[in-house]
Amino acid sequence: MSAVGYTSVAGQVLVVGGGAPLLTGWMRQIRARLEGRAGAGVLQPWRDLRKLLRKEPITPVGTGPAFRAAPALLVATTVVAAALVPLLSTDTPVRGHADLVLVVALIALGTMALALAGLDTGTAFGGMGASREMTVAALVEPTILLSVFALSIPAGTTNIPAIVSGAVHEPARLTSPAGLLATAALAVAVLAETGRIPVDNPSTHLELTMIHEAMVLEYAGPDLALVELGAQMRLTLLLGLLSSLFVPWGIATSASWTALAVALVLLAAKLCLLGAVLAAAEVFWAKVRLFRVPELIAGSFLLALLAVTASYFLSGAS
């Protein structure tokens, strides 16, 4: 059991770490094709990372440890979260620790480290980006927590592998109104948390609108590579979490090599599909005004709350 279990944990970390730039490249490629451009190819984010890693490390004058530690902390928290979340298998050696609150806290820790780094630079843009990021994060974290709580009520636990394996055996849980509402709420929250288009535009550096890019404006060289890798890994991790929670079929629930291989292929397929849908949607959506963002997230918070109440009251828990 343990060999398969440890392999699946390692596989999850490798898929999130190695696959994240590929997923980003895949999404950019789809977007480029839909916009009538040739695109730079799926491997371009990896080439960018290699180029950045070869440069000399350089930090602005007057920055302190918060600035220096943030990129490593961002990547490290994401790696730990990737090991915990059941992307490939629910039967891993670390499943006892894979609590929902812990995973959300790890993601929030990465966000906070980056915001502190933005403040540490002391530039106008860094502070502005950090304050915007915190505004969004303060609204997004409760939404993520609540929307997964809606699924954890029928399972009776906040342990994510238990929720996922329960949903694999009882698909009716997901097609209930609570499951649908929670899906919608979590999807909006994931878009906001990863800084995708209705909330933030990852591909521009327009000073009036940028959120994530404003915080990391001062980074260069290997640090920038880590920050970008961290952001890509978070996108992959959150999309993976979304797919594990709401389309859990194919995830290995027992310790067998074939189930693990099937899960790996299916995870890659699900991530590619989700990424393609997201990239295609981004072509047609416009970024909402910054002051409309709280409205969007308050709406998704409300959906999550309705999901929790629906799953608690309607489905006969009383």
């Binding site: 209930s176 609570a178 649908l180 709350l305 006969g316």
Partner: protein, 230 residues
Amino acid sequence: MSDDLYTQLLDLACGAFLLAAVMVLWRRELAAIVRVFALQGVALAAIAVLLGAHEERWDMVGVGIGIGVLRAGVLPHLMRRALAALTEDRRGYGDGGAESRETQPLVNVAASLLTAALLTLLAYAVARPLTELNPTPATRALPVGLAVVLIGFFVLVTRRRALAQVVGFLLLDNGITATAFLATSGVPLIVELGVSFDVLLAVLVLQVLTARVREAFGTTDIDDLRELHD
């Protein structure tokens, strides 16, 4: 129809019913609000038809279909006509948009969404003792009806455009109808007919009133109606 499927479908219809009420708060375009209201009428009709089919009372299925025609067809059509009349003669001046949007609700959209969340919780808390009397799938969904009543009140209080207030009034009525169906498994046909005609007439009167308000003031912003005139 098996009990399991019935419960699932009823929950789904109730979820859509509540979600439509929330969407009314979320959207600004009056045309979109009317569309969402029509969807809510469909969900309400589905609730009535499901309850009727489950208890094999075909008069209730008929009432459900009638409700669907009225609330998803006739009332939205009337409101769309009122909306078209409101925006039509303003289009020349380029500010037709001001009439067709709920530009400045008294409570902003984010806050009103959070208020809707609180109202839903309140409805659940209030309906708790009622649900415990006889916990069936229908009574367990009772708080949904109450929540829509409360959200309807909230829309009535906070929106400025006359047409948005009409939608608030109709939300209120949808909520009352849903509560009646869920709590008592349907009111007698004659009562339901009376209520439906009442609502239809109210909307017709309000439509005329809205047109008059706009003729007198040039806008349907209720805030302009503070003083008495001869």
